[in-house]
């Protein structure tokens, strides 16, 4: 498979799950794209953590993304660590894990691989592609690279390019991993080590950005952890410290440090207008006309990582070419991670847009 860097990679494995039933004309397929640390366990018990799927609140029978009606596909991204080819898999050329010999990939490469999967499943055109955060980047990339293969797209809490501040936070995480001596220049698997300290710090820093100040304050404030007074030490005095440490410690059990490097890099590189002369609206033209893809842009009022103004830029660009676009800012104080949480208004918007899309597409309920 060719890559945006000019390199190529192969053979490539893809881990994916599906739920629901593909209808006779293969017109009810929804591709769900996962975020940075997500995977294809969108529903069902996760094999490592034994926790429910990451989007059980939105995907299932009778839910916003109704598996009684739609055929839902979710695949682990290229560069991931849950089964799809990534830095921890064995490079057939060397017989050893790729490590830092894995090629640098882009969101475009991830989507190229998803397109191969969709072809393999016999689906010519996705009914919809949906994703939050890095998933939104993939949804946008699908619409730009394969406009005839996507009927609708729902980029949630995303942006057309990664901001300087977001690159900065990613760089902190990468430096934390690479500063860990157990990283061994990426060859930790050969040394039977894992840079858990660095990866844990990377996760902690990132996790703060997924929440809002209000959510942190409401959840923890300055509450003390298992004690009645300040401990005058460096144990986790405050609940927020204990929570963050837990986020870091549990993350390293399920995620590969090199995957974290490669996937954050892919996000940093994401810049839709850059490949279209710097004009975002030109991304949404197909043969001089507006893209046929029908968009719904969703953002959350308290998301400071991918704020509403980033979604608005996309809406403005789509309006400039007279494309079909809806957009909603959901009032929520839960920050960037709102799309993973119980946000009824958000789920209502999701199902409402899909409903309209289905009607327009002439999609009948399955069975």
């Amino acid at each position: 498979m060719p890559l945006d860097s000019g390199a190529s990679i192969g053979p490539v494995s893809v881990a994916y799950t599906t739920c629901g039933t593909l209808n006779a004309d293969a017109s009810n397929a929804i591709l769900v794209c996962h975020a940075l640390t997500g995977d294809h366990y969108v529903v069902g018990r996760h094999p490592v953590t034994a926790k429910p799927g990451w989007w059980e609140l939105a995907v299932g029978p009778g839910l916003a993304i109704d598996t009684d009606r739609y055929f839902v596909i979710c695949s682990n991204v290229l560069g991931g660590c849950m089964g799809t080819t990534g830095p921890k898999e064995v490079d057939p050329a060397t017989g050893k894990p790729y490590g830092m010999g894995f090629p640098v990939i882009t969101i475009g490469d991830m989507v190229r691989l998803q397109k191969l999967l969709i072809d393999h499943l016999g689906i010519e055109r996705l009914f919809c592609v949906i994703g939050g955060s890095m998933g939104a980047m993939q949804a946008l990339q699908w619409a730009v690279d394969y406009p005839e293969c996507v009927y609708g797209a729902i980029p949630i809490a995303g942006a057309a390019r990664h901001s300087a501040q977001n690159i900065a936070f990613h760089e902190v995480g990468r430096q934390a991993i690479m500063a860990d001596p157990d990283w061994h220049q990426g060859d930790y698997l050969l040394h039977d080590k894992r840079p858990t300290g660095g990866l844990s710090v990377a996760r902690m820093a990132a996790h703060i950005t997924y929440l809002s100040e209000t959510a942190l304050h409401r959840k923890f404030g300055r509450n003390l952890q298992d004690r009645k007074a300040l401990g005058f030490g460096f144990d986790a005095d405050f609940q927020v410290e204990s929570y963050l440490r837990h986020q870091g410690f549990t993350f390293v059990d399920r995620f590969d440090a090199n995957s974290y490097l490669y996937i954050t890099r892919a996000m940093d590189y994401f810049d839709l207008p850059a490949r279209h002369g710097g004009r975002l609206q030109d991304c949404f033209r197909v043969d001089g006309r507006a893209t046929p893809v029908r968009f719904c842009l969703i953002s959350f009022s308290s998301d400071w990582l991918f704020p509403t103004r980033e979604s608005r830029k996309i809406v403005h660009a789509l309006n400039a070419v007279a494309a079909n676009v809806s957009s909603v800012e959901i009032e929520s104080d839960k920050g960037h991670d709102s799309f993973l949480l119980d946000e009824p208004q958000f789920h209502a918007v999701l199902s409402g847009f899909l409903e309209g899309l289905a009607e327009h597409r002439g999609l009948k309920a399955v069975g």
Copy 2:
């Protein structure tokens, strides 16, 4: 010296600088309090970095804090690493560096030591105490603990208590340091090592919070560093990465990792109302009446680390006891660090308030 934790420490050294001339009745002394990573080199060449003092823009002859008129004192805080007793100094009890044997300290302890210095200098009452960020915490603590010894106080970009989000960012930095094997449980000096990797990551994460998204975007955007196209690697492709790495690398030359742990902890513990029954306004009562200290609270519109709403809480509490208070939000898109930068409106507010304070105090110009 007794400490808030119940422990005590001694003997204690204090490194400080002064500029200007103390007048005959010692009524023109301004104590400038430094921030987390600052020191007493408020003006003049820094002995380690050879850079100008950290507040050369505000302190000097004819400047907002006019050393032709005022006698300016700045001391390195307790727990610091530029001469005042801190974890890297030798514990007389063991003959080895304190390391993690240093007692956990508070902002109150820092101020207690400053009070001893002021006594030593023969100053009964400071004309004003001024500081930004952690310096604002010290200015507030001075006003609360020694209301009769402070004529005016200017807490800049501060808060009455450290927020959950800010504790979280500090905890990430501490975990980065403590995850570095060269930290050696704090005994790195005995091993002739320094946890530069961890300290550098801590600084990088913190540095992002000192800026605003707008400032980062304006300064760097997605500009590439010394290259015309993406490198498809993990070198610093983007200027913002290169800048952050530089911030991290240079910081470790001038700062001690254990000091970083202790001083961030002191900030996390800062909670003025907690010691006054949870009511902030009760901090500002002296014998049932309003504090005699005259306050000027300054914040910056783009500061998301210590946002204006935190300063407002203090203003409301001061108003509730009918204390003398002015407050200003400076329009700036440069984030928390604005108080260190060339912000003419900010400097005008500083000098204006001091001018009024001097008039009220009947302070004559020196010489």
